[in-house]
């Protein structure tokens, strides 16, 4: 009996062997065939060599994450076999070039099938170049899974056309040949199949692209910053779109300048952002407080990677939550968004710019490496640009300014928000400063003015709270077990909930897509309703759990924590719930 449209393919090899491009290419082909995919990228902090992998999960239903089980492993190196053969399910297969040598015994013992093929030879003979070996491999996979070759042809066309028709032709020939060979040799033995389900188109997009798209949609036309994995691709995407949307993209001398350029641009009136990772955010700390004090709207993305320090530069973590919530000395209002899906990334970016201008203060978006890079097939309508609105808050128009008099940039108001004028109008010539200041923006040291300004600024957080999103619930209202998470773990948790609701115990999820400020009384009430709170985080100390206890008094009953730089899987979460011990995950009850 074939198992249709439910499998995971994993390609492993050295950096520079095209692991990612092949994997992502195959994923896109499958997505075009109307299937859902999730593509997970794992790579080392080096440019060539070492060991990377790419894992594509395919399903007929919408999927939100990867799963541990691999059905087809494509090792480009011996190391790839050694590292991953245990993940292949019995009955699954390893498809490899005959040149890749390894000890076959344990695989056979496990019941893993071996599918050697002369992939390199096919590439050379059919395409004229060894480079096309990955095409051969993917062609073979398609053949073995009996996936409609048209989609493979299609993606080859798309991906290689800028290299010229000869390259396209070569790859097509290689793919076709391998397809046929694979089908002939192994299709009968391999139960997992891929069947196209033509239907509405879906976008194959990662979280950083979604953030960048959201920013552009929100009218962000200024990004400054410094390359840093895994945030660089935001800067790069904005650069790629700079002509089309007239975006000023400035690579600065460092992250300090990165955020300061954005502050300057924001002060002038542009919607401005920067994107970095933890180390860069450290350097932005001082300027963040400055923006808070001067009431400058600003959006900063922290795409987290595993720390401390340089840590694991190409690996994931949720280690910056408490740092982001308290970064910079003294106290000032901030808003922190923690989107948990790729579509949420888009909307978080849109919302961030509106909140930043509405509350005239920095908004931070917490991203992480997994969600930066992982791709999903997302229904197009989730990116409904017609729903994007731009709210510039109390920004004074030229007409309003024409009528204004005695302008005070930091006017004390009930909601703490002051009418904002951009520099350049004769009726609103003002100065502002990171020193404590009067309503006019002049430096002051008077205690009463200080209190009024401090209270005014902090009031913005209190006011914003009312419109911030409470944790989203997934799963039934009543459950034995309530997961608590934030950010990119949404997918893994959501699928864990699904599994548990089939296998028991009854579970649901409270997931924080926004984390500061919140209506903590309501959050507390939500948490209090739960029978058993199970915190799942990708860090060592359970940072969200600490925050929730500080703000609501609620304590987590169980904590499932992972901090080795690899994304936590649904399977690991399930194991944690079920009390199975795994080295990768720490469970505290």
């Amino acid at each position: 009996m074939p198992i249709v449209n439910d499998l995971t393919i994993k390609i492993g090899g050295e950096a520079g062997q095209g692991v990612e491009s092949s994997g992502a290419g195959f994923a896109k082909a499958v997505a075009r065939a109307g299937l859902f995919i999730y593509g997970l990228q794992d790579y080392m902090s080096r440019i060539r060599g070492g060991h990377n992998f790419y894992q594509v999960r395919i399903s007929e239903q919408e999927i939100w994450t990867f799963r541990d089980a691999v059905h087809m492993l494509l090792p480009l190196t011996t190391e790839a076999v050694e590292r991953h053969w245990r993940e292949v399910v019995p009955g699954g297969a390893v498809l490899y070039d005959v040149g890749v040598r390894f000890d076959e015994a344990p695989l056979r013992e496990r019941g893993v099938q071996l599918f050697p093929m002369p992939l390199m030879k096919i590439a050379e003979e059919q395409g004229g170049s060894r480079i096309m070996m990955n095409t051969a491999a993917l062609g073979a996979v398609a053949g073995i899974t009996e996936f409609d070759f048209a989609y493979i042809a299609d993606i080859i066309e798309t991906n290689f056309k800028r290299k010229g028709s000869a390259v396209v032709e070569g790859n097509l020939k290689v793919a076709r040949y391998a397809y046929d060979a694979g089908q002939q040799q192994y299709a009968a033995q391999f139960p997992w199949k891929l069947r196209a389900r033509p239907g509405p188109q879906r976008m194959v997009i990662n979280g950083n692209q979604a953030i960048a798209l959201g920013a552009i949609a929100a009218g962000c036309r200024f990004i400054s910053g410094y390359p840093m994995t895994p945030a660089t691709s935001i800067l790069e995407y904005m650069n790629a779109k700079s002509h089309q949307f007239n975006i000023v993209c400035k690579q600065t001398e460092d992250e300090i300048a990165g955020i300061l350029f954005a502050i300057g641009a924001a002060h002038a009136g542009a919607r401005a952002m920067c994107a970095t990772s933890g180390g860069g955010l450290c350097l932005m700390t001082e300027a963040l407080g400055f923006a808070g004090c001067t009431e400058t709207p600003l959006v900063v993305v922290d795409s987290q990677r595993a720390g401390p320090s340089t840590g694991l530069p190409t690996r994931t973590e949720q280690g910056d939550l408490l740092f982001v919530l308290h970064a910079s000395h003294g106290e000032w209002p901030r808003i922190v968004l923690t989107p948990g899906t790729i579509e949420e990334c888009f909307w978080a970016a849109v919302r961030a710019f509106n909140l930043a201008e509405k509350y005239q203060t920095p908004v931070l978006i917490m991203q992480d490496l997994t969600q930066s890079n992982a791709i999903r097939a997302v229904p197009k309508e989730r990116f409904d640009f017609s729903q994007v609105t731009i709210d510039r808050g109390k920004l004074l128009t030229a007409e309003e300014l024409d009528r204004i008099d005695n302008y005070r940039r930091h006017l004390v108001t009930e909601d703490g928000i002051s009418p904002r004028a951009l520099p350049g109008h004769p009726n609103a010539v003002y100065v502002t400063t990171g020193d404590e200041h009067t309503e006019y923006g002049f430096i002051t040291e008077e205690a009463d003015i200080r209190r009024a300004q401090m209270e005014k600024r902090m009031r913005k957080e209190e006011v914003a709270q009312a419109e911030m999103r409470l944790p989203v619930r997934y799963g039934p209202e009543d459950a034995e077990l309530t997961f608590v998470g934030w950010g990119s773990t949404y997918g893994a948790l959501r699928e864990a909930v699904d599994v548990l609701n089939q296998d028991g115990p009854r579970a649901n999820l409270l997931h924080f897509m926004e984390v500061w400020p919140l209506d903590w009384a309501r959050v507390g009430a939500l948490l209090a309703q739960a029978k058993q709170l199970v915190l799942v985080e990708q860090n060592y100390t359970g940072q969200l759990g600490r925050l929730l206890r500080a703000q609501t008094g609620q304590t987590m009953d169980k904590r499932i924590l992972k901090y080795d730089g690899r994304p936590i899987s649904t399977d690991e979460i399930l194991a944690g719930v079920r009390g199975e011990v795994r080295a990768e995950v720490k469970v505290y009850a």
């Binding site: 002509h243 007239n246 600065t252 641009a265 300027a287 400055f290 004769p426 100065v431 400063t433």
Partner: protein, 291 residues
């Protein structure tokens, strides 16, 4: 020429009586008046230090940043709204110490702004520690045996790192300084104006008299001096000690500004572009790129 009173701020200055910063403030106002730039057309961006309080004492747009961080903000501001005339004011500690990295890169970029350094060769606001321009051997609370490092040479710094206008003024000659500042504002690109500024409270060596004795007007004493000659400028830049040249030491009017070269700014200042109004078809096409 506008009325200089136009630039009077309601704020009373906090500087010590006799501080050179008064002369600089005066010169900035004069320069704006001379160029007929109204208060709303210019923005004064400063760091933190005694002199960096200047934006509070002049009626013009002002943005008083962090210690050492005025230049990047000023550049971001200019990139977002290049209609504004940007005047950056920093101390020597601010500009040449903590701000050195930003400074060198700003010079390379050649963003159109004028950068006035109130160079009192000391950290004033923190009560008298040695600064990057303190002469070797200068004794302060943090250099009890005299500063070990040789002083930063701002003229050389500018010439070597790509500044296109490198000049020196003196706060006790506000008219002359005003002219330099006006030229700096008019110069298209990054203009450095290092200003000798006596700190009457903490610098008892480089006093007003000390500077007066040594300062001379380059263009008067050496009428043949050609600031566009890099080698000559390099040599002249070394002059410090017995004689200190004032005036434009180096000038390069051939390099375009940074913002002139940014394609996104071809259509005018960024802040004057609409944020929305992109037709849905455009978004659909972009979405299609991901299919």
């Amino acid at each position: 020429m506008l009325d200089i009173k136009l630039y009077n701020s309601p704020e009373k200055s906090t500087w010590c009586p006799g501080c050179g910063d008064f002369g600089i403030l005066n010169a900035v106002k004069q320069a704006l008046a001379m160029l007929e730039l109204y208060p709303h057309e210019a923005i004064v961006v400063s760091g933190i230090g005694c002199g960096s309080k200047l934006p509070h004492y002049i009626h013009a747009n002002g943005f008083n940043i962090l210690h050492g961080r005025a230049l990047p903000v000023a550049q971001g501001l200019k990139l977002a709204n290049h209609d504004l005339k940007v005047i950056v004011v920093t101390g020597d500690g601010d500009g040449y110490g903590i701000g050195m990295g930003h400074l060198v890169h700003a010079m390379r970029r050649n963003t159109d702004l004028v950068h006035i350094v109130e160079n009192n060769q000391i950290y004033g606001l923190t009560k008298g520690q040695y600064s990057p321009t303190s002469d070797k051997g200068f004794v302060t609370t943090t250099s009890p045996d005299g500063a070990i490092e040789p002083a930063v040479n701002p003229m050389l710094l500018g010439i070597a790192n790509g500044a296109t206008f490198v000049a020196r003024g003196f706060s006790s000659e506000p008219k002359y300084l005003a002219q330099l500042i006006a030229r700096g504002i008019q110069h298209r690109g990054y203009a450095l104006i290092d200003v000798l500024q006596p700190c009457v409270t903490y610098n008892k060596v480089n006093t007003n008299a000390w500077y007066k004795q040594r300062a001379y007007h380059l263009e008067e004493e050496e009428p043949d001096y050609d600031p566009t000659d890099r080698v000559q400028a390099f040599q002249k830049a070394h002059e410090w000690g017995d004689r200190i040249p004032l005036g434009v030491i180096y000038l390069d009017e051939t390099r375009p500004t940074y913002e002139e070269q940014v394609p996104a700014l071809k259509h005018g200042p960024l802040v004057k572009q609409p944020l929305d109004g992109t037709p849905l078809e455009v978004w659909e096409a972009i979405k299609q790129e991901f299919v």
